[in-house]
């Protein structure tokens, strides 16, 4: 995988992860172009498209688009499930994750991603193992409650 972008329906970038060296200028250009392309697509269209010499795999969860760029020989369907597994990890960690969780805890979103994907390749697919690694950092901290008003990606946000 060459990079992963998370952006909102309004086109706001929420998370960016680059696995190939690119200049900031180039990254911004790519982001602008892709956000525009993906947002212009209609809901029932297929989740894959050719873009430059790469393949784009994307999926929308509630208000957020997850978008990956993979190379020619890479597998589109498994990439789609990489996205889903990442969403599940976020969901499990935050408890019914929504866009606001990712805005306010962007650093956690990055940490989770690093445990799951490294250098653009899947490192660990077991949900348990990934979360075990992440929660080590949180062990000493008491878990606090969340109260957001945003639609969660999977199911419904529980109200505390």
């Amino acid at each position: 995988m060459q990079f992963m972008l998370l952006f909102s329906r309004q086109g706001k970038l929420r998370l960016q992860k680059w696995y190939v060296p690119l200049s900031d200028k180039e990254k911004k250009k790519i982001t602008r172009e892709l956000v525009q392309t993906v947002l212009a697509r209609k809901p029932k269209m297929c989740s894959f498209l050719e873009w430059r010499d790469l393949k784009i795999v994307y999926k929308r969860y509630a208000s957020l688009y997850f978008c990956c760029a993979i190379e020619d020989q890479d597998n589109e369907l498994i990439t789609l499930e990489i996205i889903h597994r990442y969403v599940e990890l976020l969901d499990k960690y935050f408890g019914s994750v929504c866009e606001l969780d990712i805005i306010f805890n962007f650093e956690k979103a990055y940490f989770i991603l690093d445990e799951f994907l490294l250098g653009g390749e899947v490192q660990e697919t077991s949900k348990k193992n990934v979360l075990k690694a992440i929660e080590q950092a949180d062990l000493l901290q008491e878990k606090k409650q969340t109260m957001y008003h945003s639609k969660s990606f999977i199911g419904y946000k529980r109200a505390y």
Partner: protein, 939 residues
């Protein structure tokens, strides 16, 4: 304001993020950010030392600001400080900041590397993990230099924790991708392969990615991974859905790992060991069988994961291209997907079938789906799916269905999306040409193309139709009549005017007998378009007019009047003015005979690669233009009408034939022929101009030297008074590496020393060369080295050209030599017994597969030298195979990235006549041809 979530909440950060979100305008946001930046700056500069928590908070705020898209130019030092904190969360934020915002500030890099080194040595697995993540995220050369030696040790050490192993494997992978030269191969490689057997599936997953990438570059070294991967895969696909616990994903056992293992196997040919091969075939069959079973879950994740494995298995089946049974099953499975309600599956089925279409085993099976694919073209609502349908129609096209497919593509073109029109135009043009049995159909198709999508018809397309009409006299009359009729339309595309102008200028006489298309009517028709056209088209029409003067004396006066008019003779455009003046003069002073000679019909165009194909390749990359070689052959037969394919000559690059480019038609070889023909406006200028070329012609003797390297890899390629070029090269399967040594023989520095590798267009697609620039100064007496990494993608004929330019004293030096990278370098010898040899020999009995050459010996006919040459050529020398002991036979496999081609050769010397007869049989005609050419030069 939302409350902070779990973990170690940073309240200040949450407040800041809320503030930003509440900003009503971009200006307010910038104001808030600037305020925060000032605050952080003052905290960092303040006298009071910050505690770890504050530092972490501010660094995190900076990171947030950067991710919003603002520049950050401070805080790096504080982040680096966090790296040495003992608190995990502080260290973690420090690493995150470095990963996102690293710049090559050398002083910092040293500090960062130091912190990483400490963490790697800490033996604390979580700290080691963070450090490895950071290296993998940054992946810079400096980090590779510092850690590429260390990480393999961590990876294979017995006491390393599983999670650290996983990170180490992928970290190493990232470093190998950015700086392969810095990652040393060694003892660790064999131990890495054995990680495929690891108990921890997470370790296996990470290791498989690493092994796949390494195996692509070093297939021999990682060969043992094949059997391990097969047995691992077999255990996964036969396991019950609960066996693998957390590695089962929606009832699919370890889908990510399965896909990766199948990917790894695609680095290799089918396993030779029958047991391994059988086991793999079983796995693939099981995967295909499972596709037919009812789903274990209705969730889309279940079907996606299951089908991800299925598609990867099909890719492997296509890659092996050896089991007709599996290929046909794969095709049937994809056929089912073509009608699936999931758009994603239809898309992937179309894509995957495209590659199946090029396998001889499954081409026919793919063709049976033509109606479904045409239907997809008409009904799919998503342009990216329709695009795949176009690709597939192109791939499945052959003589039997060309008319139907071209007609469907043309009708689709009427409503096609703008983004893909040009590509469809190219494809239609290629198919129409390739499969034309009746050239009137070809002419009609191209004119239709121009009518429907004139703006998307590139120069290459209309150049090509003219080349073909000129080369085939049976279609010229029809072409003239058809363009004449098409031009009658009140509004026609300028490209049609160009084609019409050119064709009527050459062949208008063929229809002049019909009073409805008399010379004057033809002229008036063309001239009625003249004023609406651009300068290049008008220039072309002026040439048509002067041709008319020769063809039809009766319109000479009319044309002279036109040429003489002020709008021509005093035209502001120099090109038009010059043509008008010269043509007018020519028509006045030249006798009929001279006119007839000067304005004679164009000679047939020499055959060469279609400029359209070259363009499509450039647009789409080589992988999508599957059967190039085949199309090349078919075309040369069709167009020239001769029975023999014209081999693409290696010397084409060195012997330019300027006459062929008179009118700038056709492709320009990228090799040193001269300036590219200027398009349009400069049509005639090319005839007169003789501008200097930027790249030197090949050095004398280059051809001989080139031939010497066919059977050997090392030696001196070129030498003159100033410069010596030496070569050392090694090849393995489809990969190679060449060291080029440039020696300065003088005592004076060479300046601006720039060697450049030049591949002609069609070579570029088949041969990948990668190299780095060398130092532009070469001291007197010094030698510099350049490494070229070579990958053979598909078989090829031409050789790359090495051009060297430099300044010596005050003079500019320019040298070109052919670089001896030849197809036979990718040979792997194959030993076989006599019986096997002749059995295979008989299998390759198709006339196109055999190429034979009888030639006179150029060197003394010495048995031992001949043997050495055959071995040096790369094939195995098979003793006691040929019943006649005087004959030599050899066998081997040419490895390319896309396919492998089995080759057999037989050399029969005739001492009395001092002649040889050389016979090559391979599974690919172009390969037989090229190998025969290369080897014939050696004896």
């Amino acid at each position: 304001m939302p409350a902070v979530s779990k973990g170690d909440g940073m309240r200040g950060l949450a407040v800041f993020i809320s503030d930003i979100r509440n900003c009503k305008s971009k200006e307010a946001e910038i104001k808030r950010i600037n305020k925060e930046l000032a605050n952080i700056r003052s905290k960092f500069k303040g006298d009071k030392a910050l505690d770890g928590y504050s530092k972490k908070k501010y660094v995190c705020k900076l990171l947030f600001i950067f991710l919003l898209g603002h520049d950050i130019d401070f805080g790096h030092m504080e982040a680096v400080n966090l790296l040495s904190s003992n608190r995990y969360t502080e260290k973690q934020i420090g690493y995150l900041f470095i990963s996102v915002l690293v710049n090559s500030n050398s002083e910092l890099i040293r500090l960062i590397n130091n912190a990483i080194k400490n963490d790697l040595a800490s033996r604390n697995p979580t700290f080691m993990g963070l450090a490895l993540h950071c290296i993998a995220n940054v992946g810079s050369r400096e980090m590779a230099e510092a850690f590429a030696g260390e990480i393999p040790k961590i990876l294979v050490a017995g006491d390393t924790m599983d999670s650290v192993k996983q990170s180490a494997a992928l970290c190493l992978l990232r470093l190998y991708r950015t700086s392969p030269d810095l990652v040393p191969m060694g003892d660790w490689t064999s131990r890495v392969v054995h990680l495929l057997n690891d108990q921890h599936l997470g370790v296996v997953t990470a290791a498989t990615s690493l092994i796949t990438t390494l195996a692509q570059k070093n297939p021999e070294e990682f060969k043992t991974s094949v059997s391990l991967a097969v047995s691992r895969l077999s255990r996964i696909v036969t396991s019950a859905s609960t066996d693998l616990q957390d590695y089962t994903y929606y009832f699919v056992p370890a889908p990510w790992l399965s896909v990766k293992l199948l990917r790894l196997l695609q680095c290799y040919p089918p396993p030779e060991d029958p047991a391994v091969r059988g086991r793999l075939t079983e796995c693939l069959e099981t995967i295909l069988n499972k596709a037919q079973e009812p789903p274990k879950s209705k969730k889309v994740q279940h079907s996606n994961a299951k089908n991800a494995v299925l598609f990867e298995a099909i890719s492997l089946i296509i890659h092996h291209d050896s089991e007709p049974n599996l290929l046909v099953r794969a095709c049937n499975q994809l056929g089912q997907f073509l009608q699936h309600r999931e758009t994603n599956l239809r898309y992937l089925a179309l894509e995957s079938m495209c590659t199946l279409a090029s396998s001889e085993f499954s081409h026919e099976a793919v063709k049976t789906h033509i109606e479904t694919v045409i239907n997809a073209l008409k009904t799919e609502r998503d342009v990216s799916v329709r695009q795949r349908a176009v690709d597939l129609l192109y791939a499945m096209c052959d003589r039997s269905n060309a008319q139907q497919i071209v007609a469907e593509m043309l009708s689709y073109l009427e409503t096609a999306d703008y983004s893909i029109r040009e590509e469809i135009v190219l494809k239609v043009a290629i198919l129409a040409e390739k499969y034309a049995v009746d050239y009137t159909w070809y002419v009609d198709t191209i004119l239709n193309l121009i009518r429907i999508a004139g703006d998307y018809v590139s120069e290459e397309v209309w150049y090509r139709v003219i080349q073909i009409v000129i080369n085939r006299d049976d279609v010229q009359g029809y072409a003239a009549k058809t363009v004449f009729e098409a031009l009658q339309a009140p509004a026609c595309h300028e490209n049609l005017v160009k084609v019409g102008g050119y064709i009527l200028g050459e062949f208008g006489n063929l229809i002049a007998g019909d009073p409805r298309s008399s010379p004057l009517i033809q002229f008036n028709l063309l001239h009625s378009k003249f004023h609406l056209c651009s300068v290049p088209t008008r220039a072309l029409l002026l040439s048509t007019y002067i041709k008319f003067v020769n063809l039809f004396p009766e319109v000479k006066a009319t044309i002279q009047d036109v040429l003489r008019s002020d709008s021509q003779l005093k035209n502001a455009d120099v090109e038009l003015q010059q043509r008008a003046v010269e043509y007018l003069r020519l028509s006045t002073v030249a006798s009929t005979d001279i006119l007839a000679t000067v304005l004679e019909e164009m000679p047939p165009f020499p055959e060469r690669e279609s400029s359209i194909l070259a363009k499509l390749k450039k647009k789409k990359g080589p992988s999508t233009v599957t059967d190039l070689e085949e199309s090349k052959r078919e075309r040369s037969i069709d167009v020239n009408g001769g029975p023999e394919p014209v081999p693409a000559s290696t010397s084409a690059a060195s012997t330019p034939s300027p006459s062929a480019d008179l009118l700038g038609l056709g492709a320009v070889p990228a090799a040193p022929t001269g300036p590219p023909p200027s398009s349009g406006g400069g049509l005639l200028v090319d005839v007169f101009s003789d501008s200097a070329s930027a790249v030197a012609p090949l050095a004398p003797g280059s051809e001989d030297n080139f031939a010497r390297f066919v059977c050997k890899n090392n030696g001196v390629l070129f030498e003159n008074q100033l410069l010596q070029i030496g070569l050392k090269s090694e090849f393995r399967q489809n990969l190679g590496r060449m060291f080029i040594f440039y020696g300065n023989k003088t005592s004076t520095q060479f300046l601006n020393f720039t060697p450049t590798l030049i591949c002609a267009d069609d070579l570029q697609a088949n041969l990948n060369l990668q190299t780095k620039p060398v130092d532009p100064t070469v001291d007197g007496g010094a030698q510099v080295q350049q490494v070229v990494n070579i990958e053979c993608v598909s078989d090829f004929t031409e050789a790359p050209v090495l051009n060297i330019q430099f300044r010596y004293g005050g003079t500019f030096q320019n040298v070109s030599v052919k670089l001896p990278i030849t197809l036979n370098k990718f040979f792997q010898p194959t030993e076989m017994a006599s019986q096997d040899f002749f059995q295979r020999w008989k299998q390759l009995s198709n006339p196109q597969q055999e190429v034979q050459n009888i030639f006179k010996a150029k060197h003394p006919m010495d048995t031992e030298i001949t043997k050495a040459k055959i071995i040096g050529f790369g094939s195995a020398l098979l003793e006691e195979v040929d019943p006649n002991p005087a004959n030599f036979v050899g066998a081997g496999i040419i490895h390319t990235k896309t396919t492998q081609i089995g080759c057999l050769l037989r050399l029969e010397p005739n001492l009395q006549a001092q002649m040889y007869r050389l016979t090559l049989r391979t599974s690919k005609d172009t390969v037989s041809q090229r190998l025969c050419e290369l080897l014939s030069e050696q004896f």
